[in-house]
């Protein structure tokens, strides 16, 4: 086996040095009744060639562009990833290094994370960002637990237009706690109905997602006011941060915590993971934040360098009193997003966001002209809801056979939205493919 370098001579020499006779004799402390009796039952080892063939067979059974025209968003977006980003990201020194606990020989990862924290804070308009977390869903759950810690209140009001999967994750995290989770309904405009907040007391946080699950831009100004009037924190979530290349970011609305999914910034979708939990907050809450943080300092010669810092919040120091049990960050995904943000650049980011918006508006406009409109008239980004006529399900299935995935049926998430579909368009969707979709839908 090519990953196991020991020759029989090496093994003999080492066994002799240890003073045992065989590899089996290395396990004297494993009692006999703790041992396996038979061999593991696994497929026979494959050669590299056989493995390639096997994997190709599996990956060929997946529907991906360009063969398929995929109008799916809903928390996972198709954006072009520059070759330079993929190339840089494959460097061994980034890929095969450990968490930078030894800063002298980890300055590459540390500076890159410091840059990631900075770009994230700037993108979201927040004071500080952490070194990243698992994904948008767990980041949001951690944000709400953080709000509970800060305010010492135990109720959170969560918009029903936060990604349904994220709400499920929040429920899972909250199940063993004494915190209460109140869901806010949505208005006819397709944004969160905040009126219910007036009747709530002991509120730790108000959480909204913008753009929300329907692609609509939330009224963050009112959300902030409602939350702050109740002395609760405003938590703004997101699944498509490219929107902040165009729309005002959470920080401009005085959000206390902004967190969400960063997959759209240069990370392949890979069936939903690994992704990037982006997490940022106001400076005054930094010591309550979960996750790793990289800070700037100097070495003994006074030269600028970076270290993991404020570890006294973390599990390995504080144990059960830690701000979270999280012990990892999605470092390589954070790095990918930094490379992506740096490549697109400040000017490019605005231009790219606007192009995404215009492409999506093009499809929205074409469908509207064909008689299919969105029930919600709020401004959107990259995604919108459209109501198709009764029985569209059959057309949808026919389109699948034609290798067109005409959005996400919303009924299983929102039973009142039968025949409503969430369509997504990014800069990668060609104009002619949108024209084809409209033509197929009309016929």
């Amino acid at each position: 086996m090519r990953y196991l370098p020991h020759t029989p001579e090496d093994i003999s020499a080492m066994l002799e040095a240890i003073g045992v006779k065989s590899l089996e004799d290395l396990f004297p402390t494993v009692p006999h009744d703790c041992r396996r009796t038979g061999d593991l039952s696994l497929p026979e080892a494959l050669t590299e060639w056989e493995l390639n063939k096997h994997i190709d067979k599996l990956s060929n059974r997946m529907a991906v562009s360009p063969e398929f025209k995929v109008f799916l968003g809903a928390g996972s977006y198709d954006h072009y990833i520059p070759a330079s980003v993929s190339y840089l990201l494959s460097r061994s020194e980034f890929v095969t290094s450990y968490t930078p606990y030894q800063p002298e020989i980890s300055q590459g990862t540390l500076q890159a994370i410091f840059e990631y924290q900075t770009l994230t804070a700037r993108l979201l308009g927040m004071d500080v960002a952490n070194a990243s977390q698992y994904d948008g869903a767990s980041s949001l759950a951690e944000a709400l637990l953080m709000a509970v810690r800060i305010t010492r209140q135990n109720k959170v009001a969560v918009s029903g237009l936060i990604h349904p999967n994220y709400r499920q994750v929040i429920e899972t995290y909250f199940a063993p706690t004494d915190c209460e989770f109140i869901e806010l309904p949505y208005t006819e405009a397709g944004i969160t109905d905040l009126s219910k907040i007036n009747d709530l007391e002991n509120l730790a946080a108000v959480a909204v997602q913008s753009p929300n699950f329907f692609g609509c831009i939330e009224d963050l100004q009112s959300s902030a006011k409602k939350a702050h009037d109740k002395k609760a924190l405003l938590v703004v979530g997101f699944t498509e941060p490219l929107a902040y290349g165009m729309y005002k970011n959470p920080g401009s609305y005085d959000a206390d915590i902004a967190c969400g999914e960063g997959q759209s910034l240069g990370i392949p979708r890979t069936f939903g993971g690994p992704a990037l939990g982006m997490f940022a907050a106001k400076q005054k809450y930094v010591r309550n934040m979960p996750g790793r943080l990289v800070g700037q300092t100097v070495d003994v010669e006074g030269r600028r360098g970076y270290v993991l810092t404020l570890a006294t919040r973390e599990q390995h120091i504080r144990r059960e009193k830690a701000t979270s049990n999280i012990c990892t960050n999605h470092s390589l995904c954070a790095l990918a997003s930094s490379m992506y943000m740096a490549s697109v650049g400040g000017s490019g980011f605005k231009e790219l966001a606007r192009l995404n918006y215009d492409r999506c508006e093009y499809l929205k406009d074409r469908l509207r002209k064909a008689g299919y409109s969105s029930p919600f008239n709020r401004s959107t980004f990259n995604e919108f809801v459209v109501q198709f006529p009764q029985g569209f399900e059959t057309t949808y299935q026919d389109l699948l056979k034609k290798k067109i995935i005409a959005g996400l049926p919303l009924e299983c998430y929102y039973p009142e939205l039968a025949n409503h579909y969430l369509l997504c368009v990014t800069e990668t969707m060609a104009k002619e493919d949108m024209d084809t979709l409209v033509r197929e839908v009309v016929t």
């Binding site: 086996m1 290094s97 499920q168 005002k248 012990c327």
Partner: protein, 485 residues
């Protein structure tokens, strides 16, 4: 004169991203605009992020230079205890980058995602077989996420029995994340000490195990690199009070094909695919922490689960007792693909061989260094061995000084000051992918450092000298945090 890997070379300086670049440059090929500009609600518009503008060459040089400041498995040995920094096979990277996987949307209809669903289904079966458990979830994104999943399973189990419990037993040889994970489920950790052999004594467990205790979280092999020999008896004590046994499987690399975790009384076990199953650490993540359970806990596993019906794979949420969802979608699928490729490349025999060689390497290091460094527990070790700085304290050098010096020799330091039961711990896990030559060189380096501690201790106190940066002021970093530019 022996040639150690550590040396000096030309390393290039590089400023922060925003300290270079110039407005008007770009590093991205913007798509052609083939649609008109549509109106937008001006009140919602922002200014866009304050990112620098850089050319592609700027970016390439920036990150190539940064990368050269990192130590990595691909450049040298990483004997980091409990982290299993084994070699990360390159074929795994090829497999995960296939377009059918990399570009797959997570909400594809099942008919159009059979390839990845089949892979996930099979991987669950493989992990169940390797551990000797009955069912698995691939959803947890990391080891600590797996622990949280395990604790939620405990919580759901006791809830289903009608009475919630308030405490959980956590030995001093468990991983540091364990108490924090338990606390998220409202369990108060009850610490117990390992005995003079470095393992748990059944009587210590029975003293604290009661009907208010949800169970125990053990790490086996534990963080001293010792097998918990009394695990079966301990499991019986816990089960007798209807408690559950959680095993942190971070150290599974020692016992693949050797120990059957189901038979020894483990109810829940998490794995770290980025340790045992060769997926790279990526400078701190992403990892993956699947959780394996025995049959009585299967109804509580997270949803959706991959199921098979007449040769077709489906995602099913139809498990009413499930603890719910832990991840926005299904976990770190990219990491799962790597682990799957690894298991298929290795096969049963090589997985067992890997564990044997991992133990061989650790036992060899222990043998060769035990006359030089104080060995905390002189007993047969598994995949890692734990020394301390006790023999070197008289020269006024610490564990930290010694491992910083090890960098100059070209090795990544071992895990230090952990486990907490060994003051000044030096925890060495070589893994099976290090050759005898490299192990010997590591041993020689450690011995040379012990000599230096005696003869020229300042060399250690001032180390490292060959790295791009020397020791950094961590106190200043924490006192006045500068977390962004």
């Amino acid at each position: 004169m022996k040639e150690y890997p550590g040396t000096t070379g030309l390393i290039l300086n590089e400023p922060l991203l925003w300290e270079k670049g110039k407005k008007g440059r770009n590093g991205y090929s913007l798509p052609r605009r083939d649609v008109e500009t549509y109106a937008v609600d001006e009140a919602l518009l922002g200014e866009g992020p304050d990112f620098p503008d850089l050319s592609e060459v700027d970016i390439i040089r920036h990150y190539v230079r940064l990368s050269q400041w990192n130590f990595s498995v691909d450049s040298g040995m990483y004997p980091l205890g409990s982290c299993t920094m084994k070699y990360n096979p390159k074929t795994n990277e090829r497999q995960v980058s296939q377009a059918g996987f990399a570009a797959a949307h997570p909400l594809l209809p099942p008919d159009l995602s059979q390839g990845i669903l089949a892979l996930m289904y099979e991987l669950e079966r493989f992990l169940v077989e390797i551990t000797g458990m009955d069912a698995a979830t691939l959803q947890p994104a990391a080891g600590a996420h797996g622990e949280l999943t395990g604790m939620l399973l405990f919580y759901a189990y006791h809830k289903s029995k009608g009475a919630q419990r308030s405490k959980i037993i956590v030995p001093d040889t468990a991983h540091g994340t364990n108490p924090a994970s338990a606390a998220l489920c409202g369990y108060k950790p009850v610490p117990i000490k390992s005995n003079d052999q470095g393992i748990l004594a059944p009587k210590d467990v029975s003293q604290v195990m009661d009907e208010q205790t949800a169970g125990i979280m053990v790490t086996n092999p534990n963080t001293l690199g010792l097998f918990e020999e009394n695990i079966k008896e301990i499991a019986e004590i816990v089960h007798a009070k209807d408690g559950l046994v959680y095993c942190d499987g971070a150290n599974m690399n020692a016992v693949m094909g050797i120990v059957h975790m189901g038979d020894i009384g483990i109810d829940v076990l998490h794995l770290n695919l980025h340790k045992t199953f060769s997926s790279p650490h990526g400078g701190g993540g992403p990892g993956s922490g699947p959780v394996c359970v025995r049959t009585h806990l299967e109804p509580f596993l997270p949803i959706p689960r991959v199921i098979e019906k007449k040769g077709q794979y489906l995602l099913s949420a139809d498990f009413p007792d499930s603890i719910g969802k832990l991840h926005a979608f299904y976990g770190n699928v990219g990491v799962l693909i790597r682990a799957y490729s690894y298991i298929l490349s290795m096969g049963a025999d090589n997985l067992k061989k890997a564990s044997q060689l991992a133990v061989l390497n650790a036992a060899y290091i222990k043998q060769k260094l035990k006359d030089t460094f104080h060995l905390a527990y002189d007993r047969p070790c598994m995949h890692e061995c734990v020394f301390s700085d006790k023999n070197q304290q008289m020269h006024k050098v610490t564990t930290l000084d010694m491992v910083k010096r090890l960098m100059d020799y070209g090795f990544h330091p071992p895990t230090i000051y952990f486990p907490l039961v060994v003051p000044g711990a030096i925890m060495i896990e070589p893994t099976e992918t290090e050759s005898k030559e490299d192990i010997d060189l590591f041993i020689d380096s450690m011995k040379a450092i012990a000599d230096e501690a005696r003869e020229n201790p300042d060399l250690l106190r001032e180390a490292p000298k060959n790295s791009r940066r020397r020791r950094l002021d961590e106190t200043a970093a924490a006192r006045k945090p500068c977390l962004r530019g």
